[in-house]
Symmetry: C2
Subunit: 210 residues, 2 copies
């Protein structure tokens, strides 16, 4: 599938692009700045420029699936949480609908389905993610929402714990989260569902297989 | 009508409570801190304690209408814009539905229906208001959304310009905005509609009268 990766230059996004290439998909890396292009093109990855706060609609042309993995990150204010994490995602859903995209995979966050229980400093972020997730669910798009625990830079293990709801909070490597996003793209049992995911003991491919 | 005023202690909220009393409605002032109670009770206004970030569901018991006029204000961060202006309003809509409230009047902001054209520093705020307004519109509640221009502390004039969309941005006194909110509460032609409002030249009561 031709898959638009929104937030391709981010710490999860770069893994997503690699995993898509390994899985015989055709990633299209959406990046904000032109100086981010060469790193992708040197790997043979097509890129498209797009800015979540301004225009990025044309990036959706000809795309079969979208993985939204953008985030404003911890170094900007909560105004960017609204403009990027929430409204950028909502605009992406609108554009995907407009262009008839078949699958929309959302990188969310554990506890985004119940923001009120999140820690105080995280709560506004979880609400913003929650709004975007709810908007996707109501959109009519064929979606999967993945809510990883705390993201680490550990190398991928390929072993996870994945379920509609996991009781305990925990961590997962960015590489494993990326692999899960790419895996869920093509798993019929994941369609129109949401999942928590953490580092675990079972191979990813054993989940939702039958 | 028994009208719950959310944000009653705010700069618009206090005018709303006064206008409700003058209009023979029965205001219930929802305030956050108990030291805000005496100022209302000395005027014979019933109060109820409620915090938009925590619990305030019980405030809706027995209420016929709600006017949402709360805002986190310019002195807090954009995290509060999410938690109060957006999510507080969304929770209020949920509670109003749960308690069978008949009318929900939302104090929004001019340009909240098209946040992308707002000035850069305002845009995240306009998106947060937009999300709350859209949530109310989709809720099934009988709503009216009022979008005033820049709010001033001038005394009320009773003269406004009110329409579904006004072309030019402008100002309006908080007292006139409050009077408009209370007026729209009981105007059948305002039901399930949204309006811009600015200071103007026509008496408020001439709008939507027939």
């Amino acid at each position: 599938m031709k898959v638009l990766v929104i937030g391709a230059n981010g710490n999860v996004g770069r893994h997503i692009v690699d995993k898509l290439q390994e899985s015989q998909h055709e990633p299209v890396a959406m990046v904000r700045d032109s100086d981010q292009i060469p790193a992708f093109e040197s790997k043979g990855v097509k890129t498209v420029l797009g800015n979540l706060e301004n225009g990025f609609e044309s990036a959706f042309y000809g795309v079969e699936a979208v993985i939204f993995a953008a985030g404003s990150g911890p170094d900007t204010g909560a105004d960017k949480t609204i403009l990027v994490d929430q409204e950028g995602a909502i605009k992406a859903v609108d554009h995907a609908k407009h262009y008839g995209v078949q699958r929309f995979i959302m990188l969310s966050s554990m506890a985004a389905d119940r923001p009120q229980i999140g820690p105080g400093g995280m709560r506004h972020y979880l609400y913003a993610k929650h709004r975007a997730d709810e908007y996707l669910k109501a959109s009519g798009l064929n979606y999967t929402i993945l809510r990883p625990g705390g993201l680490t830079d550990e190398p991928g293990s390929g072993k996870v714990e994945l379920a509609a709801h996991l009781k305990e909070f925990g961590q997962i490597s960015r590489e494993d989260a990326a692999e899960a996003l790419v895996y869920l793209l093509s798993v019929p049992r994941a369609e129109n569902k949401s999942f928590d995911v953490l580092q675990g003991t079972q191979p990813l491919q054993e989940f939702l297989a039958h």
